[in-house]
Amino acid sequence: MQRQQRFDLNGMVALVTGAGGGSRGGLGPLIARALAESGSRIAINDRTPERARETVAELRAAGYDAVEAFPADVANSAQVDRLIAQVVERFGQLDILVNKAEAHGSGRRSDQVSDDEWESLLAVNTHAPFYLSRAAVRHMRQRRFGRIIHVSHITASRTSALNGVAYVAAKEALYGLIRHLSIEVAQHGITVNAILPGFIVTPKLLHGWEEERVQRLAETIPIRRAGTPEEVAALVVFLASHEASYITGAAIPIDGAVSVVPGGRTDPASAFA
């Protein structure tokens, strides 16, 4: 099928955190690729420099030249300030922040969750979004345009057996930040949103699966299949575009209606862990 015309991000600069690892890296690199396809220049962040460079190399090989690696730990306030400054210095601007970096929980029952787990999930899933949003807003408001998009998860709006209490609390706190920030920055042309993907798998992952396992997964989801990274990336591209200018303070599920299903398991993926 011929690709329809996409939302146009020409002239924009996007920073995607947690986007290392290239084609082995999951959702982050695929979001970066979709933003590049739509015309945006791309800053690839990952905590591990080699992983960031891997994504950059693949995107360049695919013909996207305006792509650079910016390794940094987003849970470190000073590194985040430096990260945003470096992106602005390199590209002259920052229009789109997609925060995909996240930490997963142990899935232990709450009474077994350690101080370390609690603090480290808050650090990456709550504090990092604050540092990133703060640094991005300081820059974006001067240009009167900005798109801040946090990639959360549908279980964050419910409960999570796989990731546990720290994940749910930290991501729900992030949603509070999004809401509060959205009314602070609305007047400056900046929107702040979250997306809540459900069970998303790459074709590559499914390829290694037995047919029965794919089918079992599909049947837990009303749409009868897992979501694809391309479907999630398309939502990010839309939210990043000029056309999405009136959507802010929202957390948008993209989950094949799995969060609407009554009863059953806590996580769509828990049967496959």
């Binding site: 306030s77 029952r109 709450s110 009474d111 969750v113 101080d115 609690w118 603090e119 808050l122 709550t126 504090h127 604050f130 540092y131 949003s133 703060r134 807003v137 300081r138 408001r141 964050a156 419910r158 409960t159 999570s160 546990g164 209490v165 720290a166 749910v168 609390a169 930290a170 991501k171 729900e172 706190a173 992030l174 949603y175 509070g176 930040l177 809401r179 509060h180 920030l181 009314i183 602070e184 920055v185 007047q187 400056h188 806590t266």
Partner: protein, 271 residues
């Protein structure tokens, strides 16, 4: 006999007695309903003001100083109640950091962290400490005092406050899901304005009018809600979010009004 006779409660941030806020009201009402109430606050003297008020009225209560945002102190608070009373049935996570902070772009790391630490990590540390004991006894009532800010954005506070109170909803939900089979319920109560004793003394008739028109709650009103949630009868109420009416909690907000109020009180809303 009160509804909570024979039960032991720990209420955090419950000091101040007559001059106190929601926490003091919760402690008073739980004690009036027959519970033995451990009154926690940061400072012993402040906690004792509520204890004195309760014991003067014939209730049973004792003071426990401690900072809930420190996991070690949270553990100690819970274990000292159990050591003293042999049990802990009711935990009310009321201690909270309030106040005004600048807009996100001007907020310091310390300001941000302080709200998350007290208002979100505190309730987690306290709940985690109490739950193994509650599981063993197959009775537990955890009540998290949130704020209407969790459903909107904070009227008086900043992003740190809003985020911490929103996060508390996530904590409430996950805990409720994990432990309902042990007869441990976990709920959130979201007050709008509470007329603390101190404010009442300062504001006089203007405050009384807000109470009379149901825009503000009195501390004991919050206590009444908690007393029901804490009782054996409420065993099937869990993962619930109880919204206390006050400022409009259900309709659309009015940004012009919000902005005017922010200017009046000197709140930075990012302009």
């Amino acid at each position: 006999m009160g509804r909570l006779t024979g039960l032991v409660a720990l209420v955090t941030g419950a000091g101040g007695g007559e001059m106190g806020g929601g926490g003091a009201g919760i402690a008073r009402v739980l004690a009036r309903e027959g519970a033995i109430v451990a009154v926690n606050d940061l400072h012993e003297d402040y906690a004792r003001a509520t204890v004195d008020q309760i014991t003067r009225n014939g209730g049973q209560s004792f003071a426990l100083a401690g900072d809930v945002s420190d996991p070690r102190q949270a553990n100690e608070l819970v274990s000292s109640v159990i050591a003293r009373c042999g049990r802990l049935d009711i935990l009310v996570n009321n201690a909270a950091r309030l106040g005004r902070t600048p807009a996100v772009e001007r907020m310091s790391d310390e300001e941000w962290h302080s709200y998350i630490a007290v208002n979100l990590s505190g309730p987690f540390y306290m709940s985690r400490a109490a739950i193994p004991h509650m599981m063993q006894r197959e009775y537990g009532r955890i009540i998290n005092i949130g704020s209407l800010a969790a459903l909107r954005a904070s009227l008086n506070g900043g992003a740190g406050y809003t985020s911490s109170k929103r996060g508390l909803l996530g904590l409430t939900r996950q805990l409720a899901a994990e432990f309902y089979t042990y007869n441990i319920t976990v709920n959130a109560v979201l007050p709008a304005g509470i007329l603390s004793g101190r404010l009442r003394a300062e504001m006089g008739e203007r405050a009384e009018a807000l109470v009379a028109t149901r825009r503000w709650a009195l501390p004991d009103d919050i206590g009444q809600i908690c007393a029901y949630l804490a009782s054996p009868e409420a065993h099937l109420i869990s993962a619930s979010v109880i919204v206390v009416p006050g400022v409009n909690a259900t309709g659309l907000g009015d940004f012009a009004q919000y902005r005017a109020m922010a200017r009046q009180i000197g709140k930075d809303i990012g302009e």
